[in-house]
Amino acid sequence: MAKLKSIVEDSATEPVDLSNFGPETTVEDVGLDSLTILDLLYDIEQEIGVEVEAKEIIAFRTIGEITQLLIDKGA
C-alpha cells in the first residue's frame, strides 16, 4: 500500500492530498484522470514488477481494488 501511495503521488500531474489514502480512496480522490491512469500503469509495471492489463485497472474505482489485483498477481 505504501509503495502504491508513492507511485500514485508520482503519477498525479498536480499535487494531491494523500493524507486519507486507504482502501476506500477512489482514483478520482487522488487526482488520477484518464491520462494519469496510463502513467500509473507504467509505474506499477516498472516499480512493482507486475504487468497489469490496462483493461483490468481501468475497471477499478478504489485503491483497495487495485491493491487486491496486485496481490492476486503476486506482488
Binding site: 491512469i37 496510463l38 509495471e45 490496462a54
Partner: protein
C-alpha cells in the same frame, strides 16, 4: 429560437450536401477553392499564423513565398472536406485501387491483416487524413477522436455519413484512456492525430527544431498496452488520387525511464511528420498554432 437556428443550419447543410453529391467532382473542387480563397482573405489571423509557422519551420524564409504556401495549405484543407464528403463514392467501389496507391510496410500490413492484433495509427494534419482512415477501415474498424458539432442535427448527419465505412467516432468529451483502451482491446485501429498544441498536458518535443507541446497519449498507450504503433500519411497526388504511406512499426519497450520513453516515441513521430511535410509543405495544415511560446 436556438432549435429554429439549428434547423435552418441543418436545412442549409442538407442542400449543400445534395449539391456536393450531385454536381461533378471537378466543379465542387472549383467551388471549394473559391471558398478557401475567400476564407484566406477574411481570416487574417489564420493567414498570419500559417505564414509565420512556415517561416519558423525553416521550410521557406521568404515571407512572400511562405504566404503562397500558406494560401495553398488553406485551399488543400478545403479540398480535403470535398474529398471526404465524396470518399465513399471512390473508395467503396471495385476500382478503389485506381484512386489509392498503397505503401504499407510489411510489418504494419501483417498487423492490419491479423484480426487478433490492434493498431495505433498516428498521423498529422497532412494531406487527407480522413481518406487514410477510410482506407485502413477496409482491414478492420477504425476509431478516432472527433470534435462534436454544436448543432445536434448536423452532428447526426455527419455521423450517418461517416457510418458508411467502419469508422467509430469517439467524441472529444469522451476521450478518456479507458475508452481508447477499449478500442484496442477490441483489436480495432485507433487513429490519433498527434500534432495539435497539447498545452499543459503536453511534453515538449522538437518540431522543426522548435519545442512544441505534444500530446503523450499515443506514446503512453503504446508503452502500457504494448499495442503496435505506426505513423501514417495520405498524400494527395492528383484529383481524387492519393498515396497512403506508413512507417515501419515504431517499437519502444519500457526502459523504466518514462520521460525518455515518451520522448523517444514522440520524437520519432515528429521526425516522420517533418519528413512528410518537407515533400509537399502546402499539404500541411499550417493555420494551427503549433508553437505558442
Amino acid at each position: 429560437m436556438k432549435t429554429l437556428i439549428h434547423l435552418i443550419e441543418f436545412g442549409l447543410a442538407r442542400i449543400l450536401l445534395f449539391l456536393f453529391d450531385t454536381l461533378p467532382y471537378r466543379f465542387n473542387c472549383s467551388v471549394s477553392k473559391g471558398a478557401a480563397n475567400l476564407w484566406w482573405w477574411v481570416d487574417r489571423k489564420r493567414q498570419k499564423v500559417a505564414t509565420n509557422n512556415i517561416i519558423r519551420s525553416g521550410i521557406e524564409t521568404d515571407p512572400k513565398k511562405a504566404r503562397q504556401i500558406a494560401k495553398r495549405s488553406i485551399q488543400n484543407f478545403s479540398m480535403m472536406l470535398v474529398e471526404s464528403l465524396r470518399s465513399d463514392e471512390y473508395l467503396e467501389g471495385e476500382d478503389w485501387q485506381n484512386h489509392i496507391t498503397l505503401d504499407i510496410k510489411p510489418d504494419v500490413l501483417e498487423v492490419l491483416e491479423d484480426p487478433e492484433r490492434p493498431l495505433i495509427l498516428a498521423a498529422g494534419h497532412f494531406g487527407n487524413w480522413e481518406i487514410a482512415a477510410h482506407l485502413v477501415s477496409r482491414y478492420k474498424p477504425v476509431a478516432g477522436i472527433t470534435r462534436g458539432m454544436n448543432n445536434p442535427y448536423i452532428e447526426k448527419l455527419v455521423k450517418s455519413r461517416k457510418g458508411r465505412y467502419r469508422f467509430r467516432p469517439i467524441p472529444k468529451h469522451d476521450n478518456n484512456a479507458g475508452r481508447l483502451i477499449e478500442e484496442l482491446n477490441q483489436k480495432n485501429i485507433l487513429a490519433l492525430l498527434f500534432d495539435q498544441h497539447a498545452g499543459k498536458y503536453g511534453v515538449m518535443i522538437d518540431f522543426f527544431g522548435h519545442p512544441a507541446a505534444t500530446f503523450k497519449t499515443t506514446a503512453m498507450l503504446h508503452l502500457v498496452t504494448k499495442a503496435p504503433l505506426c505513423y501514417a500519411d495520405c498524400v494527395r497526388t492528383g484529383p481524387m488520387q492519393f498515396t497512403v504511406t506508413t512507417s515501419h512499426l515504431i517499437k519502444q519497450a519500457p526502459t523504466g525511464n518514462k520521460q525518455d520513453d515518451i520522448k523517444a516515441i514522440l520524437t520519432t513521430m515528429n521526425e516522420h511528420l517533418e519528413h512528410t511535410i518537407r515533400k509537399d509543405p502546402a499539404q500541411y495544415l499550417w493555420a494551427h498554432r503549433r508553437w505558442r511560446d
